[in-house]
Symmetry: C3
């Protein structure tokens, strides 16, 4: 069976200097089936109205990036997913609450967004394998790429002999989830290998969702440690959201960076949300950015 | 909700020297929803079987061009559309009647088609904003692009500091519509700015549709004035169509150009039309072009 | 009417040196209609989750290749198809039985697969025209490209003055089909023209399908002759498949090449098949390749 759904957005974005238009429409294909023995299988990917917009290079957005295509098979053994998968910790913990109608496609003048800075498979288009399994309150995930290379040739980040691994576990009790993740990037020359460990906590207090993480870089990872927190509170049709993150770098003389976002969503009903957000960082000479618009689910 | 529709065409095209094949199939996605307060929103775009054909560079047709993706929200205030919009006058007046199964994708040996030579947002892929409003017999439209740049980077026509504006109004009484439009292109250096004013008339006499326009270039627009007329008459399953256009240029010594098209459609029913057309211009040394084929709606 | 269907696959591929991941998901659009006089028309093409995988250049798979888009109209006169058509003999005889979950997308270390080495329109994206007609036990097909050029500009194989022609006929009696095909490639300079004649036989013995062909190259075709055979036998949920092919070259001192594949499919039901296959050739220094995975129909 093939099912269709869609999303769209339109609004204006401020990059610290100019207000520009940005809109997008996408259709998601969701394919699903079941074997005679009860294994479930499926696939999903997206197609979009591809144009240049303020968030991408003008007129040069590439149809091959970002469709998040995956294929899976699942059963009592868990779920195996192949394709444009995330890292194991991102699969279990996700990112912080986003702000504005552009979500994580729009960040500070220096690129900071609500995305948690996971080390591996974060918005890459490398083909990877993900295994996930849940039993009661426990969830585990493991992800890896093959030895064929890592990164995006289109974006000039492809490395032929680099391989990524990650594992993560989460435990949920009532409205609280805690999790631990570990990621490794094996690059040519062992001194270039990088690793990262993440501790994450997710909690729900009434109408308020809180998420926090702490990450420690290892090996040749330029990140010493990173920490972040987001809060989202819903009052009737309005959701107020905010996040703050800080990264410290290993290198002497490189300043740590703090960035944050504040936003509000107004639910118009029927799948439409009016959203506005402001984001900024403490890097010298950079102005706040903002975006205001509507986002749609179809 | 996501709805699907489609179109296709197949036939042969004569470019003045050779007859070649040309075919295409497309699917259009139409997304729609309604907010709790009754605002309508939606989006639409197309995907196609992308191959090189006689009308494009061989094997190099780009999937990012021409999907005409837009996102809109509408209510009592009118309609706001963002994305690959047309200019305001094109939105209200459209183009002249097309000839042949290729429509405006196939023109004279020098590229003249049934398209009215609007100054702005004509087959560009720049992100723009369109506002339209109708009250009784009156319709108005306004369109603009943001300051992020104008034109298509893919086609090498992108200008970073160029912005387009346009406004148009139309009045309909019975079977007649008259309209006035104004377009402006602000380019780097004020002496490079261009403008254009269009006067258009659309009439229906029994089974005959007539459309005519007169356009006057201003500022640095190389066009002095342009004029065009099309007639389409339907006799049972057959529609005979023709258009003629003329452009005078400002520059001394540059000849004016006249071009025209003549065609006939035969309605096969069920969404299929057999169509043939011939187009030519009065530029020295260019031969007539032609195309014959079937076009489908699904 | 627009109908959707889909396919997907996931698994691992061994290229003779490394095991890598490879997955893909696709959606096929099938468009159909009928004219008032009963002519049927339609179109079909595919869209996919486009990523680099082990079978393609990393991250550089192109969305314009392989969607196999075609448009057709059919009636008592036969069927006319335009677009990404195959050659006439491939249309009537197809290819040998494939092995593994990757089908003909995965072959020996030197690229040999279950594909019969047809001379023309084999996995090209050139726009062509196909005519097919069946009457009782007889089927005929004819295919040609226009003079606009041949091959794929994207893959660097485009030749501006090359044109392909092919004709084929097949006769079916009971469980047996025999066929004859002829292909011609007219290239710039008559001494570069190539031709090829194919004789094919298809038979069904109980649960076993057998297909064989013999091809003779002519004119400047570097192939002297080629021969191949495939057998596929089904035992309940299991299908065992194998093929072997041999090509002799005209040039003195160029070794002939033999390659083969062996595989098994296990039908999981519901549209899912577990498939494994091994392929190898007798070229010095090349190791066997293999692939194991699941393939899905939606």
């Amino acid at each position: 069976e093939v099912k269709l759904s869609g999303d769209g957005r339109m609004g204006v974005v401020y990059d610290g200097a100019d207000w520009n238009f940005s809109s997008r429409a996408r259709v998601a294909f969701t394919l699903s089936g079941t074997t005679d023995s009860g294994l479930e299988f499926g696939a999903s990917f997206k197609t979009s109205d591809i144009r240049g917009d303020a968030a991408g290079a003008d007129g040069l957005e590439d149809p091959r990036a970002g469709n998040r295509g995956t294929v899976f098979i699942s059963g009592a053994f868990g779920k195996l997913t192949m394709g444009d998968v995330a890292s194991a910790p991102e699969e279990l913990f996700g990112d912080l609450a986003d702000v504005g109608y552009m979500g994580d496609d729009w960040g500070t003048a220096n690129g900071g967004t609500n995305d948690i800075p996971y080390l591996t498979l974060d918005n890459e288009t490398t083909s990877g394998l993900m295994y996930t399994y849940s039993a009661g309150s426990f969830s585990v995930a493991a992800a890896m790429t093959d030895g064929n290379g890592y990164g995006s040739a289109l974006q000039g980040t492809f490395e032929a002999d680099t391989q990524a691994y990650s594992v993560a576990a989460a435990y949920t009790f009532g409205n609280y989830t805690v999790g631990l993740g570990y990621e490794q990037l094996d690059r040519t020359g062992s001194v270039l290998d990088m690793s990262q460990t993440e501790l994450a906590g997710i909690a729900k207090f009434g109408n308020t969702d809180v998420k926090a993480y702490y990450a420690i870089g290892g090996d040749a990872n330029p990140v010493d440690d990173a920490v972040g927190l987001s809060v989202a509170s819903t009052f009737n049709a309005i959701t107020v959201k905010g996040y703050v993150q800080n990264v410290d770098y290993v290198a002497a003389g490189v300043d740590s960076v703090t960035w944050y976002g504040l936003g509000a969503d107004y639910d118009l009903g029927g799948g439409a949300i009016l959203a506005a957000g402001v984001q900024d960082d403490d890097i010298n000479g950079s102005d706040p950015t903002a975006n205001v618009g509507v986002k749609f689910k179809f």
